[in-house]
Symmetry: D2
Subunit: 342 residues, 4 copies
């Protein structure tokens, strides 16, 4: 059994890791930390886990994690970078769900995240944990930087088009809509049901932290500069991201075939039949990305619809997928669930 | 492998059966019928099932079901009673999720359901499929009448109190709230999001079909007449039932201990710690009933809070639990899931 | 023009007062206080008010309120009691939407609210602002204690039955469901959309602060002790309260006629036709209480369904109704709106 | 008093007209038709209107409308075109909320709406009822074609940019999100709460009927061809449209000033301060369009956020605004309401 630790067990990605790992046949969760709830039973805070988790929350200290084979960081940005080195030094793998190791350019990271990076030397080593691009590197990694939720949906949608140079990468648009769980489990006015229910809005239009991450990912694939307008929105539901992606075609191409071939061996990317519309409800509770491709009126604009569950393929499920690769387990182990519809 | 058929695969209980059985290690779904969608791929109608179900919908005809070991009826009331006999005659087990075989008094059934019963002779044989009461009978049954969603939540909540004669059964009140999926997948004005969203109402106060079912169940336990006021409500969410139950105590009793003992061996009934409040989100996507017990101000009124996912413990999950018992499988096989929180 | 001040303009009842008074032809809002937002434009915080409110938030200090004819307190409990005396001394009327002056027994108040009362001498003078009971007293008052949201829905529902001694007041049950705006505009985990959306739960079953308020109101009418079990619930919507009330009839009475006669002259209490079910959406955005009466199976249990918009008839609308009475204006002035359906 | 008739009083735009006109000081609703509900009291079907509407539904026949000064058609497409001529011949003004007279090119209309036009001769006369463009023509009109909901939000957002040739009209993108009431009050599976709640999807990406309407409107302003990609989405809320509009700037321009000047005299278009994000909740229940302008990272892509209440400024409110102009009333009469927040 792989012994896993979770630092930051009281956020939504933390509890989602607990939910997934509770039923993973090869993993045992041996430590769950929470500064605020240390000493309490995990299933007292999360009654949904009663009968599936006997752990107590412990303090987020090194000693409590040393018996682990792998430690997941489901923490706010700025925590993993202060603890990763000590864990790696002891041979413990680190899978970071926060943004600490996602951006290769440390100056860029510090600009967007507003703090000094505590482990700049580890950034180069960290492997960006998007299996559909980085599968082999993930298998060899010590430190994995799990992609953000928006970046997962956007990159998986644009990837086949950029890899084949089918679109002009100078003027991409990503209009993306997220459920409110993306804002995390934090006591903030803006996340109240009275503030977010029955309402729809964009936010961060002038610049969102996932912009440099998406650009970095797309530029690696494009082999050069990418022009991207990224507009995130908040939609009145709990789980789900829907990315509507726009690009200008530079050549005539069978888009449906292109996507189907690119993802034919990917268990967690599902290209819908031609003419379909992706719907977040069809991936809610699953680790899957579903993608639909349109070319309205046969013009030169391609429209990609890409949906994920932000807490699973956009966070904790993808982290477990990376863990499976890292430990030589079947990639989909513990992740074979059918979306909860309706 | 047990070969299962599903009659009525396009309603919410039908697709929920498909979801659960897709991952059940001992069951293979060999027939899914739908009059409207016959010939279509199931996963075209339900993209959430892509990769987990290769079946086509077939017509709801006997020939399409003869190769099954068990047939689930996830149909509107009035269908199972016309097909059950033929299946049973051929040695095929029948698990009916509709109301056709729930009420022992055929006159009472005909009054509430407004039609003549097509198989009155089978009613006596049918076993009411609430494992927490009828486990042994279910194991021996040929024909199982699965409980309704409201009756499941209400009976599990009142059961320990009535079995021990701790409350006056002459004046029970069940104030129950259901998510809108309980109304089924039917094109009706009253189920539109614009009609049900952001709104709360009672309905059927003068008399709801689940009233005689609940009374019958409670009277068997009480061994006599039960007086019950049952008020169902519609709450603006998709899944979940919350029963708030009121009774007058006739003796001093340690309520918490009473419930914990009664359900200590029940995998799918979870008595919450004293002082807790049950929350439907903590059972959404699971086959569990969670129960909390209160005695406000130490008075003689007991308040029981009982929650289930109406489509799982209130329908398809409970049906699979019964199937497991029927075929000698571990009772919780295929049903070990953690609720999808948040 | 009546000059009105609002202390605590950034909560939901505060902004609702602003919304109502913005269109009230006889009132001018001359001061809106907020400690946190002092100096800011009100419509910067609430863009819905752009074009209807030019005020700036000021500090909640006496000097900022002295030019007012009436001051509304839309504050947390414990604020109005510290400022009311000074305002009253200067001839300024006070309408308190908080709980500070609702309970006549100061010991009882201090027990439930967990603090010492700062103005016990004013409690006796305060008029409980439920116009349907206290209309004449309100007209003469200096200090009005507006009822809580739950107490409004529950009292209006029970009133005709208790006034006529039609039910046994020893065993009343009020099973009440509230939208989440009732929890106020506070940054609390439990009010997040991810925590409250798609979920239903009871809370405060062992004792809620509105219990003594409701009991006091009903006991005044009953002229003696009342036994009440009050169970509040949280339902996943923003506005609305639905009270389901249960009582045992002590005599045969034409319930529909009783309610229609009792409320025939009440502009804001609407008795629905026999057989109806009240629906919160039909009063959302209006100052109305709609009531439906049922006697299931002709038994001795009466079931009353009573709905209000918790922020209007349950708070700010009722406060304006009281203000209209206080200043000799038509009682419904500024309150004639039709519910926003759908 | 203006005597108004409403044909199609049971849809959401019909009941919204009833709500608005119930409080309009210069209008009396003298006829409300509904084939299905003829003979019933309007407030039986819509209890929200109790006390504000004493009308009975009548059959949608000419005789029932002859006493009107103006008739609103809140009907499905294809009805107004069969009745308008007879009304106009009798001097009765017609305000059509459906799409029958919106498209000037009858062949184009017939292609998108899939039927033969019954009154092609009236198309040229019909005035497109967007006051912000057509105010003077509306005042003189006999027949007004009210804009669709999406077209209102999109055109008001793009207008200032196209009028001043500030953007390249060859590659506009309108990514628009609508609440579910936009689908109307029709019993359809796809509009159930269980199908639309907690989910987000695009639809009609290959071509939606509002595309030619928007293009026609923008091309009149541009004085030439416009290239537009229009992607509508369904968001899990009842009311509200949020348009996110993308264009490429062709010149350096003070965007904020441009919008503020263009709309400075428009009562129902509100340009938010620089840096704002528009939020549908801030216009819910009001006739207002709120607009925010962004130029991310100072690049050449402009992003416009434009929100309306689809049933008010996107339908019934705008129709009343047109009626006011038509009859020489103050343009905002009966429409001065503050959005219902929260």
């Amino acid at each position: 059994m792989i012994r896993a630790g979770i630092v930051g067990g009281t956020g939504y990605t933390g509890v989602e890791l607990l939910r997934i790992l509770a039923l993973h046949p090869a993993v045992e969760v041996t430590a769950v930390t929470s500064r605020a709830d240390a000493g309490q039973r995990v299933d007292k805070v999360y009654p949904s886990l009663r009968g599936y988790c006997n752990a107590l929350f412990s303090l987020p200290e090194l000693d409590n994690l040393l018996a682990c084979d792998v430690v997941f960081f489901a923490t706010p940005n700025g925590t993993a970078m202060t603890m990763a080195a000590e864990l790696l030094d002891r041979g413990i793998k680190v899978i970071d769900l926060s943004a600490d190791f996602r951006i290769k350019d440390v100056k860029e990271w510090e600009k967007w995240y507003g703090m000094e990076h505590a482990s700049p030397d580890l950034i180069a080593e960290a492997v960006y944990g998007l299996p559909e691009i980085n599968r082999e590197a993930i298998k060899q990694a010590r430190l994995i930087a799990c992609p953000g939720c928006y970046p997962t949906a956007v990159q998986l949608g644009f990837l086949p088009l950029i890899e084949t140079a089918a679109i002009d990468v100078g003027s991409l648009i990503a209009d993306v809509k997220s459920g409110v769980s993306g804002a995390g489990r934090k006591a903030e006015l803006s996340s109240l049901m009275s503030e977010t229910g029955e309402s729809f809005k964009a936010y961060g239009v002038s610049g969102h932290r996932h912009l440099p991450e998406i650009k970095q990912g797309l530029e690696i694939v494009a082999g050069g500069n990418v022009g991207l307008t990224f507009v995130p929105h908040l939609t009145p539901m709990i789980r789900g991201i829907h990315a509507t992606l726009y690009g200008r075609l530079t050549q005539s191409v069978d888009l449906q075939a292109l996507f189907e071939q690119r993802y034919q061996d990917e268990r967690f990317v599902d290209v819908l039949p031609a003419g379909s519309h992706a719907d977040t409800r069809n991936v809610r509770g699953s680790n899957r990305c579903q993608i639909a491709i349109h070319q309205p009126q046969g013009g030169d604009t391609v429209v990609i619809l890409s949906v994920i569950d932000n807490l699973i393929k956009g966070a904790s499920g993808q982290a477990v997928q990376a863990m499976n690769l890292l430990f030589g387990l079947p990639e989909s182990q513990g992740l074979e669930t059918v979306a909860l519809y309706p």
